[in-house]
């Protein structure tokens, strides 16, 4: 044990000799200073980010067995839940995590609205956050169809019906997001691509901007 600690200390020293990392880690992580007035409610955004990481990780695990094909989607999810060791847990964490993430994103937004943090100089934080809220709900919606159950089929049917209320273009939008007149295998493939690549990539881009801007303007403090 003490040899292990010695080894870690040595690796740390050698890295410090070259990159001087310890002050950077201390300033940004282990001894990061936050305003004394910050309440625990300031954690909602960070917790939403933590859940995003969990979703990415469990999502990659589920991807090893999931098949985005109407013939096999339901079977593959059942296989994950009943045959893969601990698959039931990974699948459940992924589905509960989606609900938790939406709840946390809304709590984060409620705090920002209530304390009026969105005002100058933080307007762009709000805008990137709005895009993140949309992307999060879209990820939850597209993910809901993937197990291809009755519930998810009709959920997607009702959900994709909503844009038909748009004047003139409504019907066209519905056909475009359904990839046809009805929910079919093409819808599943489209939702799958959105769910695992397009929306997460958009999320990561917006999160990088969101976090960099917070670093630049600093955490908001009450007047």
């Amino acid at each position: 044990m003490s040899k292990l600690i010695e080894l870690i200390k040595r690796i740390r020293k050698e890295l410090d000799d070259r990159f001087d990392l310890t002050p950077v880690v201390q300033k940004n992580l282990t001894q990061k200073q936050v305003p004394m007035t910050l309440s625990w409610a300031g954690c909602f955004g960070g917790l939403a980010f933590l859940i995003f990481m969990i979703q990415v990780f469990t999502g990659i695990l589920l991807l090893m067995y999931y098949k985005p094909d109407p013939e096999r989607a339901w079977d593959s999810v059942t296989f994950i839940k009943s045959n893969v060791p601990m698959g039931w847990l990974i699948q459940r964490v992924h589905s509960v995590g989606a609900n938790m993430m939406i709840a946390l994103v809304f709590l984060h937004m409620a705090r920002v609205v209530y304390l009026r943090i969105f005002r100058k100089p933080r307007e762009l934080h709000w805008i990137s956050g709005s895009v993140l809220l949309l992307a999060t709900t879209m990820m939850a919606f597209t993910g809901y169809l993937l197990p291809w159950t009755q519930l998810s089929y009709w959920g997607a049917k009702v959900g994709t019906e909503i844009p038909s209320a748009v004047p003139l273009l409504g019907e066209l939008i519905v056909v475009l997001i359904r990839r046809g007149q009805n929910i079919s295998g093409e819808t599943l493939g489209f939702f799958f691509a959105m769910h695992i690549w397009v929306l997460p990539a958009l999320c990561v881009l917006m999160m990088v901007l969101h976090f960099l801007m917070i670093r630049r303007t600093g955490i908001s403090r009450p007047l």
């Binding site: 001894q31 200073q33 936050v34 305003p35 004394m36 007035t37 910050l38 695990l61 067995y65 296989f79 045959n83 893969v84 060791p85 601990m86 698959g87 847990l89 990974i90 403090r221 009450p222 007047l223």
Partner: protein, 162 residues
Amino acid sequence: MNNNQDNQRANAYACPKANSPAPVSARKNRRGFFHVCFAMMTGIAACIVAFPVFSFFRLPKRINTARKIEVPIADLSEDQALFFDRQGTQIALIFTERQPKVFDSACTHLGCLVKWDPNEHIFHCPCHGAVFDDKGQVVKGPTNVPLKKISFEIKNNVIVIS
């Protein structure tokens, strides 16, 4: 005045002693104790996460359990050959002279999968031209090792390969 005080409060940072030098023996004071507690809790949490994640990489039940191959003799016709996957190895079942025979269909030369020729009653290897007869014995070719026999049993006129 009051406003000024609030400003001072807002500008104060938590953790005021963060920059003070670390004590010589961190284990002997309260902060050191909390460091150890925190490290232990992190370790326990890491184990709780690691266990299901590592379990997830074990083979699922379907792939892990041996599946029996069952062929009713009534379904076979004379000189017919059937090929199966038996847990990753390819096996060949042939039915000649009213007798079933089962072989590992990998050629004993370099492991290509042999083909059955029903007209000449031979296994023919497409890679280097080895030829085996219907008992697995070498007729011709770069190898002199016969095809590996696979044991099977017949229960109620059904061939069972476990």
